[in-house]
């Protein structure tokens, strides 16, 4: 491979990686928000993403909605699902050992996957083409309209989320609860409500990612959330768990690395690469790229 074609390949994979990575970033945000507040690895989050993809699918096929209303519909459905799950499965365990909550999260994840299979059968479905796929060619670099759509939607949602967290009352409450739950409660913040709100926001973002993936790959199935869910968690840890810009950075970085590995080596090693990076980061910077080291006190 000579230098110019190498460079060309590099930029091409960078483009693919960023669009894939922004999907990871959207899912990672939900992980990081939930973890930041109740210190729970919400394994069911990947399945909320799957739920969102199906909600988008039914909105476009049965309700005949166009892309934007379908996206909003999926986000609302997922937000409600997130609130219900938190209310029924996680809230009763607020003071239980953390591993019990984790097992519950795994249980919820299995329930969503196999419950969904009962309703929609395990067969993959073809996501309707809501956008005609236009392929743009910039001097040999291929960008299709779906990648642009993913990027624009993801950036818009991330900006909105940052605004909500940084500028609104609820956002301030969320930051307070994640900083110190007991102190926040003493200041009159309704902690349970804030946690519900966090689940709703995170789930809505995951659903948006699900719909975008449906549009991009044209295929959805009940188990589609497992791997992306896990990798989104990796992305959240990579950036520094509990930190919103960290999740965005981690997601995009992970997407780029995966695209590079499948472009230059072999796509079978793609998943291993993601985990290898995770372990390297954990060993050398356990608090993540943007995280601060907190010294353990006795």
């Amino acid at each position: 491979m000579d230098a110019s074609s190498f460079l060309h390949q590099l930029v091409q994979q960078l483009i693919n990686g960023i669009s894939l990575g922004s999907i990871y970033a959207l899912v990672a945000l939900g992980y990081t928000m939930v973890y930041g507040i109740i210190k729970l690895i919400n394994f069911a989050h990947g399945d909320i993403y799957m739920l969102g993809a199906y909600a988008g699918f039914f909105a476009t096929t049965i309700l005949k909605l166009s892309f934007l209303p379908a996206l909003v519909f999926a986000m609302v459905v997922a937000a409600v699902a997130g609130i219900i799950i938190e209310r029924l499965a996680y809230r009763p365990l607020r003071n239980a050992p953390r591993i019990a909550v984790l097992i519950t999260a795994i249980g919820v994840s299995l329930l969503l996957e196999y419950g969904m299979m009962l309703f929609v059968t395990p067969q993959p479905r073809t996501f309707p083409a809501v956008f005609s796929a236009t392929v743009y060619n910039f001097g040999g670099l291929i960008v299709n309209s779906q990648q642009v759509l993913i990027l624009v939607t993801a950036v818009f949602l991330m900006v909105t989320l940052t605004y909500i967290v940084q500028k609104t009352m609820v956002g301030k409450a969320m930051r307070a609860v994640s900083y110190d739950m007991d102190a926040a409660r003493l200041m009159g913040i309704d902690v349970d409500k804030v946690i519900s709100y966090t689940f709703a926001l995170g789930s809505a973002l995951a659903a948006a990612a699900g719909v975008l993936v449906g549009v991009y790959y044209n295929s959805i199935d009940p188990l589609m959330g497992i791997m992306p869910g896990l990798k989104a968690f990796v992305a959240a840890v990579l950036g520094g768990i509990g930190i919103l810009p960290g999740a965005m950075l981690g997601g995009v970085l992970l997407g780029v690395v995966e695209a590079m590995v499948s472009g230059f080596f072999s796509s079978t090693f793609r998943d291993a690469a993601a985990f290898a990076i995770l372990i390297i980061i954990l060993l050398f910077r356990p608090s993540g790229l943007l995280g601060k080291n907190i010294r353990e006190k006795v």
């Binding site: 973890y35 210190k39 499965a89 097992i103 196999y114 896990l230 079978t268 291993a272 372990i279 954990l282």
Partner: protein, 317 residues
């Protein structure tokens, strides 16, 4: 000490009687092949749960990559019997040693992490092991390692399960075991008392991994095949679920969890589409009502049974 030994002998005797009964039922074909398979699976799951319990329950190190070590044992054992035609017992030892060495190499750097970070690192490592195996054509790659002879049977599984349980029980009761438990209770305090925490964490991790390797070798030599898809993180979750369900830090709890989950899973086998739904709902409900697991960190022991039946009320050991 004397009383302890006596109890061990009694338990061993009970185990042999239990073995004789089940083996007799198997020989007389009263237990059909489906339940025979599940009994063997219970044994393998007990080894897995008990060894994970050593890491998670007793040492307090949150590991969820157990399926990876199981995979190593399954494949190394299979390579030894199929490619080198070594006897089964050598393969069992080889599988356990290989998984143990890998556990040591992985444990040394990663056990510096704690809590969720360790969890996610071990999960990642388990997946890396699986994906690496998937990419080795020598052991069948993605289509799995086929043509493994069925060398394991109920007898092998049963006695290795008993061996595992006694080994781990004795380890826990030794000074090494107490060091492990002290790390779980308070790592900083343990360190202050002069316990080399890294050493004991790695020790527990290595022993746990090698027993997982043993279980893996038994697994591949009972089911004729070692397939990468059998060793995904879902299997690690399964083992973790058994341990937590039975009660973290309880030997008898791990056994209870393994027996219960394997049989629930088997009993639901005739409703394939509802199986996982019922399984997950019961898991959630159990966790909601009994977050510390069925037994908590208590043990079912002879003295408790004696006390419950109104025998002498000697304090439990």
């Amino acid at each position: 000490m004397q009383a302890l030994r006596k109890q061990d002998l009694l338990l061993l005797g009970l185990a042999v009687v239990f073995y004789a009964i089940v083996q007799g039922l198997l020989m007389a074909d009263i237990i059909g092949p489906f339940w025979e398979l599940n009994i063997v699976l219970v044994g393998i799951n007990i080894i897995l749960a008990a060894s994970l319990n050593l890491i998670n329950g007793f040492t307090g190190q949150f590991s969820i990559g157990h399926a990876g070590f199981m995979a190593v044992g399954a494949y190394v054992g299979a390579v030894m019997t199929v490619k080198f035609s070594l006897p089964f017992i050598v393969a069992l030892a080889g599988g356990a040693v290989a998984a143990g060495i890998l556990g040591f190499l992985i444990g040394l750097p990663t056990l510096r992490l704690s809590g969720d970070y360790l969890a996610i690192a071990t999960l990642g490592l388990g997946e890396i092991i699986r994906i690496t195996i998937l990419n080795i054509p020598y052991v069948g790659g993605a289509s799995g390692f086929m043509g493994i002879p069925r060398l394991a049977d109920f007898t092998w599984v049963f006695f290795l399960t008993i061996f595992t349980l006694f080994f781990i029980k004795n380890l826990i009761r030794s000074s090494h075991g107490r060091a492990c438990i002290s790390i779980r209770e308070n790592e900083i305090a343990a360190e202050t008392m002069g316990i080399d925490t890294t050493r004991y964490k790695v020790l527990a991790f290595t022993i746990g991994a090698s027993f997982a390797g043993l279980a893996g070798t038994l697994f591949s030599h009972y089911f004729y095949i070692a397939h990468p898809a059998s060793f995904t993180f879902m299997r690690s979750f399964d083992i973790l679920t058994m341990v937590v369900l039975g009660g973290l830090g309880s030997m008898t709890g791990a056994v209870t969890g393994a027996v219960l989950l394997t049989f629930i899973s088997a009993a639901l086998a005739s409703y394939p589409e509802w199986r996982m739904v019922i399984y997950s709902i019961s898991l959630i409900i159990l966790m909601l009502y009994r977050p510390q697991g069925l037994l908590g960190d208590k043990e079912i022991s002879l003295s408790i049974i004696k006390r419950l039946t109104g025998g002498d009320s000697r304090a439990e050991n």
